[in-house]
């Protein structure tokens, strides 16, 4: 019965439907070829050599450390921001929401430039340097750049996670004697577990992959502020394909793992 209905619905050849499917496949195939090229083109011995080079080891380590630190900071801020935007009405809410979301649509280079100006010679920059945080052309700058680039993605996922949790469960918890904070700890947080995982994974992938913001704020100095995207960029400028491709492969693996974990959490963006 089901099959009959499907057949009737499809009817005879429908050129509109066929064209749409062809377009979808065209782009998919091009992307698959592009991703495949990254693994097919290079000489594997060359990749192995590059992987063992001091520069690659330095870059990989720095990427992981800055990425993990930035992700932790992002999670620390995205959770309260997501909950605030999902649950509370307050003066200036739409302003906060717009500004926090802005970097999603912002060119990374411009974001880097803005951060460079802010942390440069303004009094905000001086406050941070007074407590020992210098962001301009330093490794700390990598973390700052990654943080601001990844934060909007993570806080969006956190907001939509809390949007899906029925606030009446929190109401009931409060009517049973639990304060707002206790309710958050006992009800909202455990129910947001998958969303927290998803937003952390996406934040990590964004942090590892951030290029423009890091380049402008922290600079792209060889073996100093050199993270994986920087290794790719610097080596492709020298024509050193083995190193460039290897960092590309490493970045791609991080993305695949991130998307796979994200899909498992069944969170909607």
């Amino acid at each position: 019965m089901q099959a009959v209905i499907t057949k009737r619905r499809s009817g005879r050849f429908n050129s509109f439907k066929a064209i749409l499917i062809v377009i979808s496949f065209l782009v998919t195939i091009l992307l698959v070829l592009a991703i495949g090229a990254l693994f097919m083109v290079p000489d594997m011995a060359d990749v192995w050599e590059s992987l063992k080079s001091d520069e690659m080891i330095y870059s990989l380590k720095l990427s992981l450390w800055t990425g993990l630190l930035s992700t932790a900071l992002v999670a620390l801020f995205a959770l309260p921001i997501g909950y605030t935007l999902s649950r509370f009405e307050f003066f200036g809410k739409s302003f906060v929401k717009t500004i926090i979301d802005l970097p999603v649509a912002f060119p990374e280079l411009v974001l880097g430039l803005c951060l460079l100006l802010l942390f440069g010679n303004t009094f905000v920059g001086k406050i941070f340097s007074a407590v020992g945080l210098n962001f301009v052309f330093t490794r700390q700058g990598i973390v700052a750049a990654q943080f601001f680039t990844a934060l909007p993605y993570a806080s969006r996922i956190m907001k939509s996670t809390f949007d899906y949790i029925d606030p009446r469960m929190e109401f009931v918890s409060r009517s049973l004697g639990y304060s707002m904070f206790e309710t958050f700890m006992h009800v909202s947080l455990p129910l947001a577990r998958n969303g927290i995982l998803a937003s952390t994974v996406i934040a990590f992938a964004r942090c590892i992959g951030t290029f423009g913001t890091v380049l402008i704020l922290a600079g792209g100095t060889y073996m100093k502020t050199e993270v994986l995207p920087m290794t790719l960029y610097l080596n492709i400028s020298y024509g050193n394909m083995g190193m460039a491709l290897t960092s590309g492969i490493l970045l791609m693996i991080v993305s695949f793992v991130a998307i796979y974990v994200f899909e498992q959490t069944e969170v909607s963006l």
Binding site: D166, R168, M169, F171, V172, S173, R174, S175, L176, G177, Y178, S179, H186, V187, P190, L191
Partner: protein, 352 residues
């Protein structure tokens, strides 16, 4: 001093609002709050439990002003239509949740007590997601009742249940409430909830309290035509012809009705008659105490379980009569038949 006192409550949440709601309840009262969708019933409950701070007005519980008190301090329980059970806890943990906070002594016993009185003791180890609607609602009731709240608020607790489960759950609730003498406010659009559970009824529409009275008063003496329509009474419009000894004579398009309510002679009024307050016969019987005898034609018969609703026309005026199927069979009524309707003047009410 009344147990709960709501006075001049105003709150505006845009789409939903309350506009000057006031009423008092005594300990052990069971209030049914009825009204159309969007009338502000849920807002009223949520202001009392403490999730919204009213713009104006006050709420007192046992003489204490709780208008701005935090929800966790009020000791008022709430039960929702969709149960709002915590999905990551077992049934046992859900029931234990509030008790753990309030009084952790002898928890196990109390949980097993309430679970067996609501017939959920075999479900304690399960997660809420694996239970049926009726089971989930009994767990939600257990969770609210086990902490012995000063008052229990319920927002359409039975509307997601099938009719049989609804009847059973209603009976269980009635028993549990009676055992604890809990004061209850129950938002519903099912009049059976009001009939079977409530001692008082509040009718809300567009944020205003239209009527707050005892159950009998609201159903037999609806104060506005909206309430009369809502609780299922027939309304007839007519003109007051005369007043005699506390009985008004109202002319309704060709026949007259007597009512014990008074109104100015010449005024246009609406009369409300409940379908169950009318007696029908196949022959005129003038020698009864009923003061209204109306000759009418049966236009339609609607079967509703054990009873049937007869749609009658007296001239141009339609009205409904509720009879048991047994009587219907005995009278052998079919559409088109002529019947004689008898109504006591005390059952004919003038509504505002």
């Amino acid at each position: 001093m009344s147990f709960v006192s709501v006075s001049d409550l105003h709150i505006n949440l845009g789409e939903f609002y309350l506009n000057g709601v006031s009423f008092d309840l005594d300990r052990g009262d069971y209030l049914a709050i009825i009204g159309p969708t969007g009338s502000g019933k849920t807002i009223l409950l949520e202001s009392i439990v403490g999730f919204w701070i009213p713009d104006k007005g006050a709420i007192h519980l046992e003489g204490r002003d709780i208008t701005t008190e935090l929800p966790e301090k009020r000791e008022i329980g709430i039960v929702y239509q969709d149960y709002a059970l915590l999905p990551h806890f077992t049934v046992y943990k859900n029931i234990e949740y509030g008790l753990k906070k309030k009084n952790p002594h002898g928890m196990k016993e109390k949980i097993h007590d309430i679970a067996s009185s609501l017939y959920i003791d075999h479900l304690l180890h399960r997660k809420p997601g694996t239970l049926s609607g009726g089971e989930q609602q009994r767990v939600a009731l257990a969770r609210s009742l086990v902490v012995e709240p000063k008052m229990l608020l319920m927002d359409e607790p039975f509307s997601a249940l099938d009719p049989q489960t609804r009847r059973d759950t209603r009976n269980l609730l009635k028993k549990a409430i009676a055992e604890r003498n809990t004061t209850v406010m129950h938002v519903t659009h099912d009049l059976t909830d009001a009939w079977t559970l409530a001692s008082k009824v509040a009718v809300i529409r567009e944020g205003k309290l239209l009527q707050f009275d005892s159950l009998e008063e609201v159903f037999t003496r609806p104060r506005t035509s909206f309430i009369a329509g809502f609780v299922g009474a027939t309304l007839m419009e007519g003109t007051v012809v005369s007043q005699d000894n506390g009985v008004s004579l109202v002319n309704i398009n060709g026949f007259t009705m007597r009512t014990i309510d008074t109104a100015d002679v010449g005024a246009t009024v609406k009369l409300a008659v409940r379908p169950e307050d009318i007696i029908v016969g196949t022959e005129p019987s003038p020698n009864t105490s009923a003061q209204n005898h109306i000759c009418a034609t049966v236009s339609k018969i609607l079967y509703e379980g054990k009873t049937s609703l007869l749609s009658l026309y007296a001239g141009e005026t339609p009205f409904n009569v509720l009879v048991t199927n047994h009587s219907l069979e005995r009278l052998r009524l079919t559409p088109g038949d002529t019947v004689y309707a008898m109504i006591k003047s005390a059952n004919v009410r003038i509504v505002n």
